[in-house]
Symmetry: D2
Amino acid sequence: MNCLLRNLQKDCAKLLRNVASCRHKSDNTAGGVGVSELDISGIYPPIPTPFHPDESIAYDQLENNFNIWNKIPLKGYVVEGSNGEYTYLSPDERVEVVSKAVKLADKDKLIIAGSGCESTRDTIEMTRKMADAGADAVLVVTPCYFKGRMTNESLIQHYTRVADTSSIPVILYSVPANTGIDLSPEVIVHLAPHPNIIGMKDSAGDITKLASLVFKTKNKNFQVLAGSAGFLLPAYTVGCVGGVCALANILGKELCQLVDLFHAGRYQEALDLQYRCIAPNSAITKQYGVAGLKKAMEWFGYYGGPTRSPLLPVSQAEEKVIRNSFTQNNFLKN
Amino acid sequence: MNCLLRNLQKDCAKLLRNVASCRHKSDNTAGGVGVSELDISGIYPPIPTPFHPDESIAYDQLENNFNIWNKIPLKGYVVEGSNGEYTYLSPDERVEVVSKAVKLADKDKLIIAGSGCESTRDTIEMTRKMADAGADAVLVVTPCYFKGRMTNESLIQHYTRVADTSSIPVILYSVPANTGIDLSPEVIVHLAPHPNIIGMKDSAGDITKLASLVFKTKNKNFQVLAGSAGFLLPAYTVGCVGGVCALANILGKELCQLVDLFHAGRYQEALDLQYRCIAPNSAITKQYGVAGLKKAMEWFGYYGGPTRSPLLPVSQAEEKVIRNSFTQNNFLKN
Amino acid sequence: MNCLLRNLQKDCAKLLRNVASCRHKSDNTAGGVGVSELDISGIYPPIPTPFHPDESIAYDQLENNFNIWNKIPLKGYVVEGSNGEYTYLSPDERVEVVSKAVKLADKDKLIIAGSGCESTRDTIEMTRKMADAGADAVLVVTPCYFKGRMTNESLIQHYTRVADTSSIPVILYSVPANTGIDLSPEVIVHLAPHPNIIGMKDSAGDITKLASLVFKTKNKNFQVLAGSAGFLLPAYTVGCVGGVCALANILGKELCQLVDLFHAGRYQEALDLQYRCIAPNSAITKQYGVAGLKKAMEWFGYYGGPTRSPLLPVSQAEEKVIRNSFTQNNFLKN
Amino acid sequence: MNCLLRNLQKDCAKLLRNVASCRHKSDNTAGGVGVSELDISGIYPPIPTPFHPDESIAYDQLENNFNIWNKIPLKGYVVEGSNGEYTYLSPDERVEVVSKAVKLADKDKLIIAGSGCESTRDTIEMTRKMADAGADAVLVVTPCYFKGRMTNESLIQHYTRVADTSSIPVILYSVPANTGIDLSPEVIVHLAPHPNIIGMKDSAGDITKLASLVFKTKNKNFQVLAGSAGFLLPAYTVGCVGGVCALANILGKELCQLVDLFHAGRYQEALDLQYRCIAPNSAITKQYGVAGLKKAMEWFGYYGGPTRSPLLPVSQAEEKVIRNSFTQNNFLKN
């Protein structure tokens, strides 16, 4: 009964958002076409997929994690976008996890689903499935296998076709550390006016590029999100409006607080918090990846659990380095 | 009726090969364990997947291509391993193309199916399906999305589990231009004695590494295949025994001839042919990729056809460069 | 007579600074050793070396440029550190240009001389010569020819020996785009407490690393300078205290103003200025380098002149791109 | 007296070579211009500079080493080209070492002197000095500091001006591991017909590129030398005519023997020797560099001695790895 009611509330909230999306953009470039106005500003954890020891998906543990996350003023969740080991799931599993997340997330949280595949047709199809599963927007990673031929022209065509056919807003996603492809400013600036492309997540962390993108896409209803907690505050200072941060899986409250401090003009406090986040963030991302993230989640009451092979769990020595990054920055007691 | 007979012959040939595989390796390291002795020496085209203009698979055109290829003394075919846009197919399509290729290939040709996926479990499953579809061996590309954590230990575990569970021999595959992962000599030398790992395809083209691998894996029943026609002859001179070459889709006869010249000790003639192959090979691989390959195939009587998006067809200017590389080296008239 | 008086004033200013340098650091790590307290916060142009058409040094034009620069509230000048084509000068020329700059610079400006060479002995010797020539500090670029062996240990030893023997303060310099070497946080944090190492210039622009360095070296009297105008404001927001910016050769006044706005809490105005600087900065650095810089200087009343070979002048098409970057951002009329 | 006689013989040999150089090229492209015909085929050690413990140059030890090298059928010596820590010498020292090498080398050996500097003018001047010092040819490494602007056009102009003004033949040198610059085939093919550019040393080891260069420069009197013993035999098989190999400092006799075996058609023996050379070569080049080379030289009766800072000597653990690479391949007893 509770569940029914909750879903009803959720559906209403979505309806309201969709109504909002029907309004027209003021942007002249787009020429008055119907556009999405979904406000995606805020902090999102790209949630990892919990597995049982036999590597099957641990949906019960997902619920446990959402129960904690939902109490934090996160803007929403990114599900199977990159960090979630989405490349290790079957297409059906990928949709199912998103479907479950839609149910588990509080009605006032957004669900941004990863729908990027290598081919345009698969991405279009996956985007449709994610919309059907109740996602509010999709995050579309760059295709990358044929690196040498992912030209600007090719990527523009890819994203345009996906956005043209999607019933929910599209967010671009550039993560060169995984894909070897860095979306060029030319492509991004070209795509920004598209009425159904509402922003991007950039994980490369080149602050000059981020500033330049914000500058060049202003008045285009284009929202830039930082892809890592390592440069969250600098990203805000150059005009980014949110962050999709692995660290938000663990320190969601603190990252939301960092943003609040920034908006309140309490800059030095925000900076002090930013400083403390750098080492823990590095430990669970570029140093030890999702295995490190899952290990650290367990120290904070979340379910982490194993990774799917070939990802290996962190070693004891690695675990110690990760833990130190949290204790030395006073996020955890020794 | 003819078809039935042909399949029967094919099955018998496979049976014979499987019987051969049941014999024991002479290699002492492997300690007398039952091993695969499949001889994979020779030339293979990694066949592209033909598409109709609507991007659906053009099985009829596949048959047309096999009718030409089957008359060339190729050792076999690599299907959906890398070049075939396998990342653009659904898992079911991938298996179906292999299944079709098994039927279309002459009974004396080997079918090496690509079965590499990002996760170990998906790779194991795909390997099983490829074996069921009639493939003689699988080519397993390195997983690569979580680049920073594809450690030697992780890759050794991945390949060992795949090889342990596969009913057909496994061939390692390293193609850093696409994956960003270069299988290290340590991993390869460690895996070489595995009774069910019979060789590797290396597309990086570091001749020192190739020579070193041949040297370090001798007496391990480990067969090294060059991954490109650009360095096919040098690869043979340091002990490689074959090549999986995109150019073999077009110049299969010539590449087989190159190998024959080498074995016959007619070295200068082999070298002259090698020289002429470099520019055309470059044009259809690193310069213009599979779109270039498909365009060039059409000049030689094969069906090339379109690529799936986001891969774009070559432009007219690019087409001219590709064509010149063939005409200037006397593989084609102006 | 005027000149004599000016030099006298200058010497007095230096004496005062040197007296300041004799005071002791409060830093406990350094254990009360006599240390340098030179305040290097502020904006510096890394001045290019002006050449005549025959590629000899145009000292007269250098004077012309200094006459303009001296009227701008720049903190000082970096001479033959990187941008000045220092690798194209003989050791004697390098010292002579610094010597000349010391004479031409206003007495209240600092002269930071580049003294980095490949070998430790040459760097020590060049540092001595720069001190003798009147430089206030030296900027020491990482040695880089034997990239594979520039280990942390090797670089720590190098910088320690240079700093131990230098009579003027030492500033570390990391510019991977030119050297292929990115000074690691470990090396920098290790060297920061050295009483004669007072800071660093970082041109890589990884804002997370910059923030982390400021955080890890606080209380070490270690001053971090941004190496480019592209990320000057973000660098200030994470605690950097200055910038060595090629763009300051042209837009020195504007960059000083940006810093003033930041310090005055007029953040949005600072940000607007920062946005406008990104494209011009990119044009005269990573896009077209010192040749682009010299061309653009001429539009602002400075002498630019030719480059030494093998650097080529910019083409007309390139010149147009550079000019557009200035006009479109309202630094120049069409 | 002996010395006088020796120098006289040496001068005569040079005279003969210079007479040879006055003959005209048969190449039509060069249009009958007077060209250099210096035959540079064969094996060269790029000799390291011996230092005393105080890092001054140990000329006495240089003589000791030449006494051993001169007895080996090496074609000559490369002096201060790359490996010799030339970037750690003053310009005067660089010339002096070459001058000394000219005296110490047997009259029938060639001296190829490194004369590459960052600027064209310095390279021209250094080339003149090397010719005056008695070098037979110069090896000119690519300038590299301003990486982003070392365009094809810039490099073509650089080498053309150096070759135009040099009294001795010029050899191109590409060593991307140190410089970050890989001379493009376009530049090399453009420069090959120049009457005073007689060949190149390529250390990148891309065998496809080497084959392609030999093919595209045939009939241009252009001789391609392998830059490492790791791929010496493959290089010969695709038409290279020699090698400048760090390993030749230690195993000069063996590398000359490898070439003899190749020319005698005893291919399998050549290959067996090639295999054995890969690990030792790797140990003294990309793994441990010139410090490793110097350490290993001592086990074979040569003077190795210290490196100049910031290069560090190899550690004991590293020394063990290097030694193992020689013992396991039967070049040294345990």
